[in-house]
Each structure stands twice: as structure tokens, then as C-alpha cells.
Symmetry: C2
Subunit: 346 residues, 2 copies
């Protein structure tokens, strides 16, 4: 069992995994990726994983057998568990909750050797549909406040299994930086009756120096205050607060933009390790009193994806101060990314 703990000084929630606590020696081999002879994410190994929650199958194959295109399973070693009541308690000056949540894995392709960037746009669209399906299902659970959806590519970015996959963790709290984004957008809307992110996108599209790709549906850009070299943000050009409300044709357009961005990043930075994080509206914000009802509160959040290649060993102060140092101006990063000739890298 794990536990959620709140630090009142740092205003931070932490999941502490209690039962499989790692001892000092467990960290010694941590930098090596598991070199599995039998990959549990490949065809024919469906019995090596927990039973599937969702899959896209077009060949009529049965659950937990080969034939799937995208497969979603519970994480075999979940950091949070779905069973049980959420119990919140004080521990003197601290706060704690038992580790209730969901921890799922989206296996993006049956092909062990293809990364997300290498999938065809239609295959990436299927991955995005799986994300959407899981977000829509998990949010029905009134215990959850946010759904983390992230992907680690490469050992240095935290990927333990090389077969391309995404993790989904539903948590009973709103992470504090997510809460910050929401409150910033709400404050802005209260003042201006406009979406902060829309205004920001309008300025970027006018300026163009940090735009990497803009097809009118999705804008791919290097953020003005990029925290990391070659950080990339992808957002819908049209206002939308909730990734899970995207229509099929919008997911297809996103798949094109995402593939394009990943290929450019791969070309410029030689297949760097990277993290992918979805920022979408927190659930408490969507949940209008009645569990199960999903309102449309359109102008005070704008969903987006952050892509961060892991190029540097961050210095020690970033995690302690929330203040960053970046040695590549985003204008330069965007220029390099735009210059890629994708006909060469496909």
C-alpha cells in the first residue's frame, strides 16, 4: 500500500510507496534499462500482464489475445490502488491519505521496436483515442481530482521498459502546479473575459519566432519562457479546456502535429530521451456538484501537451525554487526545429 503525504511547508503532495520500499542497493542498478528477454507488452504475452481494461481491435480478436492495436492494462506494480475508501487524516501538523487511485499503462503499439514518433498518423490517432477513452472513464470515479497522463521515452527520461507506452495515474488530489495554472487562468478570465492561453497563442502566432508548426488546428511552439532547452508545447488553436472532449477529426489532426514535432525533435537532437505530459482541466473544475455530470466551462483552462527532451542534468536549485535556467533561447530552438527536412527523416 502507498500513502499520499502533504508537506505544509513546500505545499507539495508526494506518493510514498510503502510496501515495495526501495532499499539503498536497489538504486545501484537503477540507470540500466531492464533488458527483458520476454517483453510483456508484445503480442502473445497478454497473459503476462493484468487483464486489459481497454483495447482497439479491428480484427474481431478477443480480449487478452493478440490482434490489438492499442492496449490499456492496469500497471502490474501500481503506485496507487483502485480498491478501498479514500481516507483522509491529519498526522499532527501533516496531512495524509491512503494510496487510492488508478495506475494504468497504454501500450501504444504491438511492435516492440517502434517509438511513438515512428507510428503512422492513423496509429497515433488510435493511441490518442485510447487516452480519451480512459480519461472519460476514470473521471467518473468521484474520488479522483486529476488524471496524470505522461510518457517517458528513453532510460534517462525514466522509462523502465523499452516497448513504447504511456502511463495514466488518477490521483485523489489536484497537483499544485496544475492548481496554479487553473487559478491563473481563472483570474485572467475574471479580469478580461478572455482565455489567457488563447491570448498567448494569438501573440505567438503573430510573432512567429517561436512557432515550429501551425496548421490552423494545432499550434506547436517553443514557449517564451521555456524552462528546458528545446521544450515544445502543443495546443489546439481553437479554444478547448478539456482534452477528453476532442472529436475524432481533432485527434487525427493532433496525431499529425504530434508526429511532426516528435520527428523534428528526433532529427535535431538525435532521438533524445524525452517526457510528454498532458495538461488538461482538473476534475474538480469540471465536476459541477453532481458526480457524473461534466459541464462545459470553456474559457478558464486551455489544454496543452508539454514535450521536454532530457538534454541536461538539471542543477540542484530548479526543484527547490521553481526557478529555471535554460541555455537555449526558444527562438533558436524553434529555428532549428523548423529547419528540419522531414522528407529525409521519414
Amino acid at each position: 500500500m502507498s500513502e499520499l503525504r502533504w508537506d505544509p511547508l513546500k505545499k507539495t503532495w508526494v506518493i510514498i510507496t510503502l510496501e515495495r520500499g526501495r532499499r539503498p542497493r536497489d538504486f545501484m542498478n537503477d540507470r540500466k534499462q531492464v533488458n527483458m528477454t520476454v517483453c510483456p507488452f508484445c503480442y502473445g504475452r497478454e497473459d503476462k500482464t493484468p487483464r486489459e481494461i481497454f483495447a482497439i481491435r479491428t480484427d474481431g480478436s478477443r480480449p487478452n489475445t493478440p490482434g490489438w492495436k492499442v492496449r490499456v492494462i492496469p500497471n502490474k506494480y501500481p503506485v496507487l490502488r483502485i480498491e478501498g475508501e479514500l481516507e483522509k487524516r491529519g498526522v499532527g501538523i501533516y496531512d495524509a491519505m491512503n494510496g487510492i487511485g488508478a495506475h494504468e499503462v497504454v501500450i501504444e503499439t504491438p511492435d516492440h521496436d517502434r517509438s511513438l514518433a515512428e507510428l503512422a498518423p492513423a496509429e497515433i490517432t488510435d493511441v490518442l483515442k485510447a487516452y480519451r477513452a480512459r480519461l472519460l472513464d476514470l473521471r467518473k470515479d468521484p474520488r479522483f481530482r486529476y488524471i496524470l497522463l505522461f510518457k517517458n521515452h528513453g532510460v534517462e527520461a525514466g522509462a523502465a521498459i523499452p516497448h513504447s507506452h504511456t502511463q495514466i495515474i488518477a490521483v485523489p488530489i489536484t497537483p499544485n502546479l496544475t492548481a496554479t495554472e487553473l487559478s491563473v487562468c481563472q483570474e485572467y478570465y475574471k479580469k478580461k473575459e478572455r482565455c489567457l492561453f488563447c491570448d498567448l497563442l494569438a501573440q505567438e502566432r503573430e510573432d512567429r519566432r517561436r512557432i515550429i508548426r501551425d496548421d490552423g488546428n494545432f499550434v506547436v511552439f517553443a514557449p517564451y519562457a521555456s524552462r528546458f532547452p528545446f521544450e515544445v508545447r502543443i495546443a489546439p488553436a481553437r479554444h478547448s479546456h478539456d482534452f477528453a472532449l476532442m472529436a475524432d477529426h481533432e485527434l487525427s489532426a493532433l496525431a499529425e502535429a504530434l508526429k511532426d514535432a516528435l520527428l523534428r525533435m528526433r532529427s535535431v537532437l538525435r532521438d533524445p530521451p524525452y517526457n510528454f505530459l498532458l495538461h488538461t482541466s482538473p476534475l474538480m473544475h469540471l465536476r459541477l456538484g453532481k458526480p457524473g455530470y461534466w459541464g462545459s466551462i470553456p474559457y478558464d483552462f486551455h489544454w496543452h501537451i508539454d514535450l521536454v527532451p532530457r538534454l541536461t542534468n538539471n542543477a540542484g536549485f530548479e526543484w527547490g525554487t521553481g526557478f529555471f535556467m535554460n541555455s537555449t533561447p526558444p527562438e533558436e530552438a524553434a529555428r532549428f526545429m523548423r529547419a528540419v527536412d522531414l522528407s529525409m527523416s521519414l
Copy 2:
């Protein structure tokens, strides 16, 4: 020249270094530590660095010659520059400032091969005195809002030069997590007329499960909501908001506690890469209207040092959400740290 940029959505300041912008190929060799044949931090190489700002010398030797015990120099490649007026401006929806600040390096020992943990307590005391001297001097500059003092040990923790050193960066903004700590403590004090951190220490000292060392002067403990495995916090047992106001005998006691903690960490985790970050009162909080006057506002900040071994490749969501996952309960970490027999590792 560099620039400070503010992201209104993420509420984050970033230093973007414009002139020595790193291109894609510059990141390819980033994981290797510079293997210098001539280390500029060793005796006899004082002319390879900018002229010293401060040094501890007991042999009557002249500045910028051998004989020093601790030496502070401007960083040869500063991320912020001391010259010029601070210019704040809007960039449409964003905010920016020119890169005014100070960037210094504390060379902790003339000995190329000894790490901070290996210095004698009296030598560590000298390092701490150098920190104090620089903090007291830099805060006189009314352009600065915070002074970052941090140390990266090992390549994986961001150290580019192996010779043991600490970095000091004075910045014209208050980093947002520092501002959070301050406002949390102020709010608590307003309600209870007690220091949050003192209450937290009292609870930890009563509980004892997370205490690593407590000599009555300094408490070394694994924080209740440790964000990282084997994270260690060191704080004065007696209330103090400002590291720079520590007396000599307090710095001696801190040197003992710090050495002890570093040796325990080295023993348990086999000389791990680590980051060291000082959290002390923000300058705007100390500066009572009149530049140069340093008030004593004793109960709404409590300085502390965070020590974080870099054992894992953090997954992608931590930097985006401020929400952490830690696989080693701090009670376990403290137990391992307490169990070290330091007579063996000296």
C-alpha cells in the same frame, strides 16, 4: 547577455542565456564531465579564474596567489551579470528583465580530490563562513531579491568541474517556491503566532522515526513528505530565519552536522551524486523599506538546507505538476542513515 522571462501560465521565472546559446550538438557530449588536465580551481592556477572576491587565508598570502583555504571568485561564464541597470519590461502578455545578477563560485578546498564530506569540520566551517560573507555582501545590492546557494556533487547532479565547489547566484526576483514557503509560514504565524517549521521540528523530535541526527543544535531528518528517496533536511533547532546571521560557533556546529549527514549518505548510497540547496529568508522580506537595513523578523521563516541524492531518473510528471512519487519511505531512509557506523567510513 541573458534575460529573465516570466511565464504567466506556469508562474515561472526562467533565465534564458542568449549569448552563449547552446546548439543541438552542444548537448551531445553533455553527460561527460570535463576532464581537465589543468584544473583552474587548484593552487597555482589563480590566474586562470577571474580575480577573487573573498578568500580565507591564514598564512598572510596575497590575493590571487596560493595559500587560501576557501576562495570565492566570479563565475567565468556567469548566467547573470552584475553590470548595468535592472530594466523590467512587458513583452505583450509576458514579462522580461535583463539578466542582472551575480554568479559566484566558492572553491571549498585547494585539494582537487577531496569532496565536502571529506573535509575536516574546521574546514567545512570555513566554507560556511565564506557562504555567510557572500550572502551578507550580496544582499546590500538593492537589485537582488534572492540569493541561490547550491552545490552539485557528481556529473549526474550537474557538476561540470570535479573540484569541489558551491555556486551562488543572486537574482532580481523571488523564486516562486521560495515565495510559497514564505507565504505559508507567514499565514501560519498570523494564525498561531508560532513558527510552522518550529512546530514541525517539535513533532519530528518527539516522533523520532525520521530523525537521523539531533545534537540539540541542528536537527538532521528525512522529511515526512520526502519528494526524493533519501532526501535529507538540516535545520537549526533554535529558531532562525536567516542563515547569514549565524554566529561562528553555530557554523561550527552546522559543519559537524553537515559532515555527519554527508558521510552517512555516502556510506549508505555509495557516494551518490547529490544536490545541496540553502533555503533562507528572501531579501524583500528582510529589507524593511530602507535599502541596507536588515531587520529581524524572526518567526515567519526558518532557514534550512535540503540535501537530495540523485538516485532516480524522475518521471516526466514531477516537473510539470509539482507532485512527486518516492519509492523509499522517509522512515526507512532515516533508519538506514542512522545505522551507519561512522567510525568505519572516516
